[in-house]
């Protein structure tokens, strides 16, 4: 394991300190308990948006704290949900009197810890609601499992919901927007190489030199199936098929196409993936009107990609286009 780290136990603390040093114009940091909060929090009268989860997916979530997106992010240890204390503290820090929304990826640990924090915050009189993100179509038979996982689609939920809160929507309306985005976005990923959790020091799984894992999770959890490496276009077709069938997306839809890098994949490859995905959508009569390409929901140094497709309408497009000013996503200001 070769990493640019000091003590594996300090990875998150060191990184958060670096984030603070780099982005003091956008965020403030609480170091104990650890959370990242928008510089001007709490914004009076605005619904506060808090997300969080295990570290190792950067820029998710800290990179999305700022005007028009998240009010706070709570990073846990690498790939481990944060505990309730920092979630509670972050919730308090962003409460501007209009209530707080928790955006939670659907993992047992995240759900339970956010639940506990929400209970504690409610007990202190804060109106807290949660939306659980589960955009990953790789998980089958979700009725009989912990359900589908929350993966890269989370970025789109955070951006659009953040814009709704910023324009002044009340808590109910913000929840409705978040649920709407979650219900209209589908994602599937592939891994070419595993990642190495710093404290573990070993790869999270092993792939042969000619193998890839279709349907990989963002913590290196194995996916749907392990197959031989194929040309990029064939891999894209494998990812896009289940995505398009699931909603389903149909001819005439306008969509946002998001090609996400898992952390270790060169950008040039992400654009090769985007090319084919856009081509397939076009063949099906689906119009790509917005796009996002880059490392936005990563799994440390894993090589791989995920494709997300979000069915847009005028409201979602408008909220997507609204100004945002975070470390990792910025436009309009």
């Amino acid at each position: 394991m070769k990493k640019l780290i000091n003590d594996p136990k300090n990875v998150v603390n060191d990184a958060v300190a670096g984030f603070e040093a780099a982005h003091g114009d956008i965020v403030r940091i609480s170091h104990d308990p650890v959370y990242i909060v928008r510089n001007d929090a709490p914004v009076q009268g605005k619904v506060g948006i808090v997300s969080g989860g295990g570290s190792g997916h950067e820029p998710l979530h800290g990179g999305f704290v700022g005007y028009g997106m998240l009010d706070a992010a709570v990073p846990g240890a690498v790939f481990t949900s944060p505990t309730p204390d920092p979630i509670l503290a972050a919730t308090q820090a962003v409460d501007g009197g209009a209530g707080v929304l928790h955006i939670v990826k659907n993992y047992t640990g995240d759900v339970l810890n956010f639940e506990t924090a929400a209970d504690l915050a409610s007990a202190e009189g804060i109106d807290v609601r949660a939306v659980i993100i589960n955009d990953d179509v790789a998980v089958k038979d979700s009725l009989y499992t912990a359900g589908r996982r929350g993966v890269a689609g989370t970025v789109l939920v955070e951006k659009i919901t953040g814009a709704a809160a910023e324009r002044g929507d009340d808590l109910d309306a913000v929840v409705t927007v978040a649920e709407k985005v979650n219900s209209r976005v589908r994602t599937m990923g592939v891994a070419l190489t595993p990642c190495v959790v710093p404290h573990a020091g070993e790869p999270s799984f092993v792939l042969a030199d000619d193998e890839i894992e279709i349907g990989i999770g963002i913590h290196g959890e194995p996916g749907r199936e392990r197959i031989k490496l194929e040309p990029a276009d064939a891999i894209v077709d494998r990812l896009l098929g289940p995505i398009l069938e699931d909603l389903p997306f149909v001819s005439g839809d306008e969509v946002l196409l998001f090609v996400n890098g898992m952390g270790g994949t060169p950008q040039i490859e992400l654009y090769i993936v985007f090319r084919r995905a856009a081509e397939v959508l076009k063949e099906k009569g689906i119009t790509v009107t917005r796009s996002l390409v880059g490392n936005y929901t990563t799994s440390l140094e894993m090589a791989g990609t995920s494709i997300s497709v979000l069915k847009l309408d005028d409201e979602l497009t408008g909220l997507w286009d609204a100004p945002v000013q975070t470390a990792a996503l910025r436009w309009g200001r």
Binding site: G76, L112, T145, H219
Partner: protein
């Protein structure tokens, strides 16, 4: 043998030792069908308890120790295991109340309350390939032993043995809760890490009694 405050403290200390020793092994189990951090999570939580045990007031009860364990786990472990074990210890603490020691019947209540707490939060059934598959056999075995009129040592041993068998019995299962549930058939042949840590915890509870 008496399950008093001293036993409770010894149990938790021994658990911390055993989890530290099994950190890598639990990580490996979790890496195979999860995300590889279960050993890390449990070790972090129990290490955080140790200094607090040292700072406990002289006059304290088993229930108070269990509550301290609960709050510390909740605030340091994270992941799925943190809230689940945290709730388990919280409910266990509630079950023993202010008693200065735990008799066989109270021990069964303690274990049952812990298990029920986990089910309340995690909604797992037996056979879902989770820590419940260690807890439920343990509770059942403890109940049978206590009903047969044995002492706390035999009850604890029965619980620990049943948990160990329960953990092993998760191996052939397909998971329906937790991260392993994403794997479908591919989880078969791997032991659930949470059931293994449960087995280690209950074994420690008996071991410190035997070696007291």
């Amino acid at each position: 043998p008496t399950l008093d405050t001293a036993w409770t403290v010894r149990w938790i200390r021994r658990s911390a030792e055993v989890l530290a020793a099994n950190r890598a092994a639990l990580n490996t189990l979790d890496r195979e069908i999860g995300d590889g951090d279960h050993g890390e999570n449990m070790d972090r939580g129990f290490q955080a308890i140790l200094p607090k045990l040292d700072a406990l007031p002289d006059e304290t009860t088993p229930g108070a120790v269990l509550k301290l364990v609960a709050t510390t786990l909740i605030s340091t472990v994270g992941g799925a295991a943190g809230p689940l074990y945290g709730t388990a210890f919280l409910k266990a603490s509630g079950a023993v109340g202010d008693a200065e020691w735990v008799d066989a019947a109270a021990l069964v209540s303690l274990l049952a309350a812990a298990r029920d707490g986990i089910v309340l939060r995690g909604k797992a059934d037996e056979g879902d390939k989770t820590m419940i598959d260690a807890w439920t056999p343990a509770v059942n075995a403890a109940l049978s032993a206590q009903a047969a009129g044995t002492g706390v040592d035999v009850v604890l041993l029965a619980a620990a043995d049943a948990a160990a068998r329960g953990a092993q019995a998760t191996e052939p299962l397909v998971a329906r809760k937790g991260r392993a549930s994403y794997l479908g058939e591919r989880a078969i042949g791997h032991r659930d890490p949470g059931s293994q840590s449960t087995s280690l915890l209950l074994r420690a509870a008996f071991d410190v009694l035997a070696t007291a």
